[in-house]
């Protein structure tokens, strides 16, 4: 059996491939689960149980006319949809999947994820600005306000973890949880804030204000068609996958098995548990989409700055104080 080393070419190819396949599969899974939750069937025609639906969709999107509106600003219009999937895949590079399985072992991994999230917000903004359409512009404005705000809360909410594990390195964070127990317990407030802010960052329902179908048609991607739209779409799902993988890593012990339910091989066990935990979160996000209501823009902003920010700052303060007190 070959050795797994973080960053080996095999690792990179396997993980990126798996992520892309998973994202495509996720689109189908979400549509099916959502259909089930909505008392309907969802896509069930292409392949067994409709599993090849995403393939068919990609085929359709690629062969569709790739239309750039004549009134659009061409350069940013074309750049915008490329940004999301690239940035999201780059973020995935630092996600530790199992011992020895991962693309990068970066000592500033957590900051890397935040940096990529920050760049990701350009996609919606530039798309909205370049489309030269009023609905897109409104969507772009909403995306900018929402993402830049929730990035702040997301960043502050995970600083408690950094204090507890004494590192920005995601692998070390997982190891620290193995030693001290899951961070979801000491960092419960941080966890709640992170999940909400993460949802807002991925612009998932109910925080899809930037698309807000019933208000601004499709927001920033109103003018997009074909594979350019497809890139926005896939980017959103990779983002959801990333968030679902990041939550276990930060709060639920990463690849380590809960309740000592370890499988014989450490790597297989790690991959299994990582995927299982990620899957649970994906399902949770689909449930959220089926159940919740989109808030109004000002409500979202007020909620962020008046509830999330004080909460996450308080969490940071208390965590720091406790660690200092224990250290002394």
């Amino acid at each position: 059996m070959f050795e797994f080393v973080v960053g080996s070419p095999l690792n990179i190819v396997l993980i990126l491939g798996a992520v892309l396949v998973a994202a495509a599969l996720l689109i189908w899974v979400e549509r099916r689960v959502l259909g089930f939750l909505n008392e309907r069937l969802g896509p069930n025609r292409v392949g067994p149980w409709g599993i090849a639906q995403s393939l068919a969709d990609v085929g359709k999107l690629i062969t569709k006319e790739d239309w750039v509106p004549p009134f659009a600003d061409k350069l940013p219009f074309i750049v915008a949809p490329i940004i999301v999937p690239v940035v999201m895949l780059l973020s995935f590079a630092v996600i530790p999947i199992a011992p020895g399985v991962g693309i990068m072992d970066l000592n500033i991994g957590l900051l890397w994820v935040l940096a990529m999230a920050g760049l990701g917000s350009y996609s919606a903004m530039l798309g909205g600005l370049a489309s030269n359409n009023k609905f897109s512009l409104l969507g772009g404005l909403r995306a900018a306000g929402q993402m830049i705000s929730y990035e702040v809360f997301m960043g502050i909410s995970i600083l408690g973890i950094v204090i507890l594990s004494d590192s920005f390195n995601l692998r070390e964070i997982v190891e620290a949880q193995h030693k001290h127990g899951w961070f979801v317990f000491p960092q419960f407030i941080g966890f709640i804030v992170f999940v909400i802010a993460g949802l807002a960052e991925t612009k998932r329902w109910p925080f899809d204000l930037a698309e807000g179908e019933s208000e601004i048609i499709s927001g920033f991607n109103t003018e997009y068609s074909g594979m350019k739209f497809g890139l926005f779409f896939v980017g959103e799902y990779i983002g959801m996958l990333l968030l679902s993988a990041l939550i276990p890593v930060l709060f639920f012990g990463g690849w380590y098995a809960p309740f000592g339910l370890e499988l014989p091989n450490a790597i297989i066990s790690g991959i299994f548990w990582m995927c299982a935990k990620t899957g649970c979160w994906i399902f949770f996000f689909i449930l959220v989409r089926a159940a919740l209501v989109r808030p109004r823009y000002d409500q979202l902003m007020n909620y962020g700055w008046l509830v999330m920010l004080p909460l996450s700052l308080l969490n940071l303060l208390v965590t720091g104080a406790v660690v200092l007190a224990q250290g002394n």
Binding site: L138, E215, V293, R296
Partner: protein, 590 residues
């Protein structure tokens, strides 16, 4: 007919007496109609004073201008006892405190088609006067923006005039060249200045957003031109007419009987609920009293359609607020209701199933089984939605205090139905003026408190429960008997009676090909439709069809209140307001 007129003569209604006292008997000419509604002709110079008196001083007050319309009288033959008139403008104020109506008519001559505007009295007169200008060419002096509303701005002529062609074949074939297309598109361009809106304020430049004609939350082909400052809605200008078919014009070409299927398509979510006021109006004219079984069947189906329409509102309202699932749940339930409707009438959305003097067929065998299943199943589902939607704190935050209107405002804008009840006024036509046997049913009239989006939705939700209750009562107490009245004017007549001898066969032939022919008269019939008061005002000139059909629909009236409801809100609130106004574009444009 004459008998009815005579009894009305003997006892002068109180309102007419009061008007005679106030303005002198010489100011009016009284007209007798079949339905016995007080009808007075007055002069153009006095009409505003009369209307103001009715609104402010008369007790009971006539709070609302239910309808304003016009009649092209130039080819009308039977006008005995009416003042000479080429065009007649008809005002229809209604009193909620006194539960009565009055009709005020003003005669106009062809060479002087002018009327003073009634907007200072009732804001709701605005669009109705525009409609009259558009379709009849009567000018309302003092109107702020007397422009076309249903026909395109480039239209030539006035469509409801008797000399305007009614079918395409009477006109030149229509071809759209590039120039015509450009011209039509240019005519649709929104010019804020025409509506008294400015393009910028001291410190910001406004954005004008075309919300529609094709927009996911516009509920049909309607355009709202929004004046936005960031996300704040400063003003709204609704633009309707994209769905205009000229149903009132078509009614003039159809016989009494053949117009029934057209009514289904007025409020296409209301199905047979639209047949009801029409056939009842014709029955009133013909003097048909339908059997009890017919009344109960009609009520049952009408309430099914009320549930269907409200379910569609419920789901789309939730999805407009950004909640995905209720839409699908509501459509599942709607499907179940449509299955029942289909198995009874043979059609789903537009059954066209009511007939003059009855319904098309008797109920099928085993009809009660499906309905029993539904009435057992549906309340539990509604309870689930209550938890998911109405009790949802985010929905409450989004809709409480948004789009508020009080009862006085609702009167001013002529809002009826759930929108009026949400302001706290307990007034349901089915209770106040029971028709089709509604007095025999037990049901509550739900009301709101604040008149905001949430209350409007809550009233509709509760109405579905009450409708379900009514259906249950229909199910348990369905009377036996014929499904058609045994009356010579019942259309189509009962077939068994046609094959007795040549005489009955000829009669049958005539009433199938012509339909009923009745004495000339005028009749109004109003019902509590799914979205508010739906009124048919039929003028019978003794022909085989209507001389003039006025269809007063709630949606048309409600839409013009949207700017009032949504000024100062945010874009997301605007969709909530639009959704709770609950209009159907076919009902708006007719």
């Amino acid at each position: 007919m004459n008998a009815a007129a005579n009894t009305a003569n003997a006892e002068l209604p109180a309102v007419i007496k009061a008007l005679y006292e106030k303005f002198g008997e010489s100011a009016f000419v009284r007209q007798h109609t079949a339905e016995g509604m007080p009808t007075l002709w007055t002069g153009r110079d006095k009409v505003l004073a009369v209307l103001r008196y009715l609104r402010d001083e008369h007790r009971p007050r006539y709070e609302m201008l239910l309808d304003v319309t016009a009649i092209d009288e130039r080819t009308r033959i039977n006008r005995q006892g009416q003042p000479a008139s080429d065009f007649t403008v008809v005002y229809h104020p209604t009193s909620f405190s006194g539960n009565c109506d009055i009709r005020i008519k003003v005669a106009l001559q062809m060479n002087d088609l002018n009327m003073p505007t009634a907007i200072p009295l009732w804001s709701s007169a605005n669009w109705q006067e525009r409609e009259i200008w558009d379709l009849f060419g009567i000018v309302f002096t003092g109107h702020p923006n007397l422009s076309r509303i249903l026909c395109p701005p480039t239209w030539k002529g006035h469509a409801l005039r008797k000399d305007h062609p009614a079918r395409a074949t009477e006109m030149e074939p229509y071809r759209m060249s590039d120039e015509i297309q450009d011209r039509e598109q240019e005519a649709l361009r929104f010019k804020p200045e025409e509506w008294g809106l400015t393009r910028k304020s001291e410190n910001s430049e406004f954005m004008f957003l075309n919300f529609g004609p094709n927009h996911p939350a516009a509920h049909g082909v309607i355009r709202f031109a929004l004046q936005l400052d960031g996300e704040n809605v400063l003003d709204v200008v609704p633009d309707v007419g994209y769905h205009h078919r000229g149903a009132e014009k078509m009614a003039e070409r159809q016989t009494w009987h053949t117009f029934i299927p057209y009514t289904d398509r007025i409020d296409y979510l209301g199905g047979v609920m639209n047949n009801l006021p029409y056939v009842m109006a014709v029955e009133k004219m013909a003097g048909i009293k339908v059997p009890q079984r017919v009344e109960v069947i009609r009520v049952m189906l009408a309430e099914f359609f009320r549930i269907c329409s409200h379910l569609l509102f419920y789901g789309t309202w939730a999805v407009d607020l950004g909640q995905l699932s209720p839409l699908f749940y509501c459509f599942v339930d709607r499907e179940k209701a449509f299955n029942i409707i289909e198995s009874i009438t043979g059609a789903r959305m537009h059954p066209g199933w009511f007939r003059i003097g009855g319904v098309a067929q008797d109920l099928p065998k085993g009809w009660d089984k499906l309905i029993r299943e539904f009435v057992d199943y549906f309340p539990a589902r509604l309870a689930e939605y209550d938890k998911m939607v109405m009790a949802n704190s985010m929905i409450r935050q989004r809709t409480r205090g948004v789009g508020v209107i009080d009862t006085a405002g609702a009167f001013d804008w002529a809002m009826t139905g759930p929108a009026l009840r949400a302001t706290g006024l307990e007034w349901d036509y089915r209770k106040q003026r029971p028709y089709s046997g509604y007095e025999n049913f037990e049901f509550e009239v739900p009301i709101g408190v604040n008149g905001d989006c949430y209350d409007r939705a809550a009233v509709r939700v509760e109405e579905m429960r009450q409708s379900c209750r009514i259906i249950k009562q229909c199910l348990e107490n369905m009377p036996e008997g014929p499904y058609k009245a045994d009356h010579p004017l019942t259309t189509p007549p009962i077939k068994e009676k046609s094959k007795l001898d040549i005489e009955t066969l000829i009669n049958h032939f005539l009433s199938v090909s012509w339909g009923p022919v009745m004495d000339p008269t005028e009749v109004t019939m109003t019902i509590e439709a799914t979205k508010g008061l739906n009124m048919y005002y039929l003028i019978n000139d003794g022909g085989i069809g209507s001389y003039r059909t006025r269809i007063r629909t709630p949606s048309f009236i409600h839409i013009q209140a949207i700017p009032f409801l949504s000024r100062g809100l945010m874009l997301a609130d605007f969709t909530a307001v639009v959704a709770t106004t609950d209009f159907v574009m076919a009902d708006v444009d007719r």
